[in-house]
């Protein structure tokens, strides 16, 4: 009788593995590619080296005004001397510890999300979406528990940017999900409302939304009734971004096969349970790249609040580089602001990639 014997598995050839294999496959697979590799390295050399020299090696780091910058490199002295203003805006110096506590809580609740081994990530996630914003609001605005009240006109800098972005993100996602579900609803009233809402907010530029909220809205409100400018801008941002979010989420909902709805129905889960337990977890996972895209766009769009006179980080930096002490440092100013934004956006992007890998259960259907 002939017995079936599978052949043994052999290791791959040496030339295709290891460092040499990698160099060969990725950098020098053909003469043309080798040429491109060399040219690429040369290009990096002629651009990166002068930039690093300007930005790091011959930069001036400390000083009290522009005269401290004499070495010809970047003048970072304005950043180091005005860093408090860039971070806290006009927040009273004696109360800055309240914002610092919020920053600390922020780091404590998000840093562990990057480590797989940390056990309480889920609870920490819920904390950062619910309790953390509440604590931060109480701490920063004050007026409770003997804290001095700090009006929102004094909020500013990077802390204001982060606040706007954080509240925008935390609110826009659930609103967007509800709108997306509503747009796919069987009930004509709900569906029509959601379509109108989404198409309206998506159809107007964010700048006009912000102008409307700060200039037009007070005209329509009854005399004496006036609510906070920051709150109005925030509501505008949330409405605007949740319309975008809704369409991203709807894309995910549409990608879920009908069989998943049917299986959930057949088990008797009903609409809300099947959405929350079966459909949305899969749909949201599918559109993580789109959701993070919207988050990043939202984060950068917060700079637009400067046109209605809110001093977020870009406006604070601009105010300083237009002032007498540091006049003309616009280039350094924009590089600094760009770096601030890039750090946070890159962090979000990395986290989303990690999340995608983690949630991948290897099922393509």
């Amino acid at each position: 009788m002939n017995e079936f014997k599978p052949l043994p598995n052999l290791p791959p050839p040496v030339a295709t593995a290891g460092v040499i294999g990698w160099l060969r496959a990725n950098l020098f697979p053909s003469p043309f590619s080798a040429l491109l590799t060399v040219l690429g390295i040369y290009f990096l050399y002629i651009t990166l080296v002068p930039f690093l020299d300007w930005a790091v090696f011959s930069a001036d780091w400390f000083g009290t005004d522009k005269s401290a910058c004499i070495s010809g490199g970047a003048c970072w002295a304005f950043v180091t001397s005005r860093i408090d203003f860039f971070i806290y805006g006009f927040f009273p110096t004696s109360e800055v510890w309240r914002i610092n506590i919020c920053f600390a809580l922020f780091v404590i609740s998000f840093a562990p999300q990057f480590f797989d081994a940390f056990p309480y990530k889920k609870n920490l996630g819920i904390f950062s979406l619910t309790v953390f914003p509440a604590i931060s609001y109480v701490l920063i605005s004050g007026g409770w528990f003997g804290l001095v009240e700090v009006s929102t006109e004094k909020w500013g800098g990077l802390s204001l940017t982060l606040m706007l972005a954080y509240v925008g993100i935390v609110a826009a996602l659930p609103f967007g999900v509800v709108l997306a579900l509503g747009r796919r609803s069987q009930l004509p009233v709900i569906r029509t409302f959601c379509i109108l809402f989404i198409e309206w907010w998506r159809g107007v530029p964010l700048i006009s939304v912000l102008f409307m909220s700060s200039v037009m809205l007070p005209l329509f409100l009854p005399e004496g009734m006036n609510f906070d400018k920051l709150l109005r801008a925030l509501i505008g941002i949330i409405m605007f971004q949740s319309a975008y979010m809704a369409e991203v989420v709807r894309g995910g909902l549409q990608a879920i096969p009908r069989g998943q709805h049917e299986a959930a129905d057949a088990l008797g889960l009903g609409y809300w349970k099947s959405m929350l337990l079966v459909i949305l977890p899969q749909a949201l996972k599918l559109v993580i790249p789109g959701i993070v895209n919207t988050f990043i766009a939202l984060f950068k769009d917060t700079t637009l609040v400067l046109i209605i006179g809110l001093f977020e980080v870009l406006a604070s930096v601009e105010a300083v580089v237009r002032g007498a002490q540091w006049r003309g440092l616009t280039f350094e100013g924009y590089v600094f602001v760009g770096l601030c934004f890039w750090v946070f956006c890159f962090g979000m992007s990395r986290y989303s990639q990690k999340l995608e890998r983690k949630l991948n259960t290897g099922h393509k259907r």
Binding site: A263, A266, L267
Partner: protein
């Protein structure tokens, strides 16, 4: 009148997809414990018919009564019926983001309100019955088709249904895996479960069915016990169908 003697009763059921008349005057009484196999060419309405029983499809005329509850637009009743009727699909439709065990416990926890620990015991019991307990912590995407379908059967059985519907449970499987699924279904039939199976597995029909129903063009063409159905079909359409599926 609704009768509780029947597990499922369909009285003059008609259904249209837009202009297309898919089900024409379907009358079907399924007794408790009866095993019915439904066959017929594709597009004959057999899947649509069993999908009407748990309201995955809505019928436009006639009555469908499941376990004494008539299906109407009343969502409460639909949920009640769905709790009593289990269903297995051609493409399994397991929830890919949940493990095998979580797939089985989901409805127990959220529909039956069972504590998690108890739900897991129930789920393990049924996973053992479909001979797959060792896969409990894997995700559906890591299992073979036959294993997935057995998990799907276990998931339905966890809800302790009075009726099980099978919508071509083996037609998406590789030939090597059909037997493991059919074995589970035979075992289930032998334990007295009321079953309606849309399938082309005629061996299975001969082995366990109390009645075989042949459908074409939205109507029941012929129904009979398996032995006379296969050996002595009355209708020419049935004869043609059987000659095509049995002689290849």
């Amino acid at each position: 009148m609704a009768s509780t003697d029947f597990a499922v009763q369909m009285i003059n059921v008609n259904k249209w997809y837009g202009e297309f008349h898919v089900l024409k005057d379907i009358n079907l009484n399924v007794s408790v414990g009866e095993r019915i196999v439904i066959c017929g060419p594709s597009g004959s309405g057999k899947s649509t018919m069993i999908r009407c029983i748990n309201r995955l499809e809505e019928h436009q005329a006639g009555q469908i009564i499941v376990g004494g509850i008539e299906l109407t637009h009343d969502l409460k009743r639909i949920d009640e019926v769905r709790r009593e009727v289990g269903m297995c699909f051609q493409h399994f439709n397991l929830f890919p983001h949940l493990t095998v065990l979580e797939n089985c416990t989901l409805a127990l926890i959220w529909v039956r309100k069972m504590p998690k620990k108890k739900a897991e015991e129930v789920a393990m019991h049924y996973l053992e019955r479909v001979k797959i307990p060792e896969q409990m912590n894997k995700f559906p995407g890591q299992l073979s088709g036959g294993q997935q379908q057995r998990v799907a059967i276990a998931r339905s059985l966890c809800m302790n249904p009075k009726v099980m519907l099978f919508d071509e449970p083996t037609s998406a499987l590789d030939p090597e895996m059909i037997k493991e699924v059919l074995d589970v279904m035979v075992q289930l039939a032998e334990e007295g479960m009321t079953m309606l199976c849309v399938t082309h597995e005629m061996g299975f029909a001969k082995l366990v069915a109390d009645r075989v129903i042949f459908m074409d063009a939205g109507q029941v063409v012929e129904e009979n016990k398996p032995e006379p159905f296969f050996n002595d079909p009355q209708n020419d359409r049935t004869k043609l169908f059987l000659s095509q599926i049995l002689n290849h």
